[in-house]
Symmetry: C2
Subunit: 410 residues, 2 copies
Amino acid sequence: MEEISHKNPFKKPFFDLKELVDSIQEHLGCPATIEDTNHRLNAYSSHGVDADPARIGTIISQRVPEKVINRLWKEGIIPKLIQSDSALRIPHIDDIGLRDRVAIAIRKNNEILGYIWVVEGPKKLSHLQLEHLKDAAVVAIPLMAKIQQNRKRKEENYQEFLWQLLTGQFKNRDEIYEQVHELHLKIPNHFTVLVFYFEQDITQAMEEQISYLITTSQKITNHFLVLMDNELILIASPHPSQSDATAFDSFITYFTSEIANRFSILGVKGSSGKGYSDFSKAMTSYQEAQKVLELKKVFPEELENVFHYSQLGAFLYIDLIQQQLPDEHPAISKIRAYDKQHKSNFLKTLEVFIQQDSNMNEAAKKLFVHTNTLHYRMKRVAEIGEIDLTNVHEKLGIYLDLMARKMKNK
Amino acid sequence: MEEISHKNPFKKPFFDLKELVDSIQEHLGCPATIEDTNHRLNAYSSHGVDADPARIGTIISQRVPEKVINRLWKEGIIPKLIQSDSALRIPHIDDIGLRDRVAIAIRKNNEILGYIWVVEGPKKLSHLQLEHLKDAAVVAIPLMAKIQQNRKRKEENYQEFLWQLLTGQFKNRDEIYEQVHELHLKIPNHFTVLVFYFEQDITQAMEEQISYLITTSQKITNHFLVLMDNELILIASPHPSQSDATAFDSFITYFTSEIANRFSILGVKGSSGKGYSDFSKAMTSYQEAQKVLELKKVFPEELENVFHYSQLGAFLYIDLIQQQLPDEHPAISKIRAYDKQHKSNFLKTLEVFIQQDSNMNEAAKKLFVHTNTLHYRMKRVAEIGEIDLTNVHEKLGIYLDLMARKMKNK
DNA sequence: ATTCCTTTTGTGAAATTTCACAAAAGGTTA
DNA sequence: TAACCTTTTGTGAAATTTCACAAAAGGAAT
């Protein structure tokens, strides 16, 4: 036994990760996989005798299923792996189809390049075998690095192109598609631009965490990623598994909450433009996404749950109106004057009432008052402002005026 | 008797109408009044022994009360007077306080200059006395004409000024007030501009009928009247007897319906701008009124009951939006496509639903369908368009888009 | 003709909203 | 302080809306 411990079974040249992973299976007698930092599958041993659902899912979709990743985070396993130098035993988690496993991080100068996972059969790995996994991880380093570098070089090439695309540096469609062809880019046939504003500039470390979250979340398929100071731009499609309408919404909430939870990066605001098929419309979609974020700045409560351009509704027109704002609606002036004199709050009440779709109960809840109080107030508002609150056009006019004025004053 | 019949008791020089009216009273033994074409009081006999409420009202307010005029029209009395050359006996109408009367038109070459009214006492006028009234009417002609001319000359002087004012020919406030002073115009301290579009150009005959209606209606106090081709412009204030908010509305409906009923001038459309105190804002108010009329052309049903600028509500912003109309709201496109394929009517349904303040019952009535039908349709609309119909912002956005597009297509 | 799908209408119970009235609370003014 | 006004809250009955379900009607495709 002693003899073997001194001998590194992986001390031979491997052409690629596939060779390595096969060698691991051979040596340990268990199926193994190698993933990159983003849990994208790089290689898996072929003679899979004994695959659990998590492994099958991973292989099929070429990456670790999202729910598995989320669970590994929740259980604190991924952070532990990142910390640890040696292989760790991960107890089975039945409800996500994960059997007993052993894993080790592939690390180069404190930078995580990926992970080796081994599914344990009924016969557990010995202490020595776990030690050998360390050797495998070392061997994997140059192989992983090669892949990473390829990817990086490719990315650097198109970063500039994308930036030009999004800021409208190209004259026409043809110019764009020429470049696309030249750079050998595979462009999606349908895409949407997502934008995230960060509170500080995005550092190298953050970039990695961002990229981690994007590739591990399986709500969207990200095609391109552009970073600029404190701005993150994605060109993505809804993941095939997701319904179009909600895919981006849920990705944005997921992304902002997870980046806060996992990496303590707070105050990230995200949005998306409309979807297009023509890649030259990327700039349009980008600008739409930006418009959403700008409006969210002005109307944080009103647009709290709005992320997609086409959900902006009336706010789409508010800044248009705001630019040519006529005299204040007479009803507003009257109510404002009344409020001032009586220290009441009728204008805000009216605003909330309209916002809640003229629903007394909802509005009363929002305002923390008794329904009858609101009822009374609306009667007063109608009197004071001399308006008919069942007339949509009046209500709309007042509301648009109110919102536009709010925007102007910011 | 024969002798008297040949003798014209009014064949003597009268200095003014007051003298004439006194002479009539003296001769007939009954109180008399002389009105102009617009039933404005020009003179009344002073030794009024026997006044009925209608006479008192006329004298107090310097004109015949509106309800009396309306009734006289309804009963066909005024048209008969206009037709007739001789004095007519008008039976009492108790509910408006009108006792038995005799009246005759003052006519010059088929043009009506005014009327002489005589209140009969218990002793009725003889046939001869009625004949004498004809003489009185003839005597009245030059006296009335003098007044009319004075008024006309004065009017001609300021017509041009008003036109310049309304079309923005003056550089600043001072220039306007200088002119006002020069022309000795009494300007109101609060006014509103009303505009009426006629289907044809306004003829001399129509002008008289218009002026008749305006001065007899006592809903507004008209300060100035401007005519231009097929456009009638009034600068008016609410009549002291009327509440501000509704005065103009009811005048406009009154005017358009009466000018149709009485004079068979159909298709007149009226509107009003906002009220101002600064006379230099007359142009603004005029433009506002014009904007209302233009929008009413585009949205005849939607704005059916809207006459005042401040009732335009959301339509105020529609043409702004229409000028920079972005892509159609995705929900609209979806619903429109569905409609086309299934020959359904969901888009129109949605429009009416929003217009009726999301009130199922009202909207169902408007659409002549069962409430549940509408309920079903709205459920389908929400599904097809992937929208939340309780979200005001979405609804608004869709509605504004719909309206703006409607405007653009006209 | 049959089948399938969508739409319309009817029915009635359950849920919600509206409304009038009373009482209380808070603030201002003489 | 009392008198007055405005606002808030509570109560409960009446009116209205919502919703599920069933049936029927209309079209399109086979």
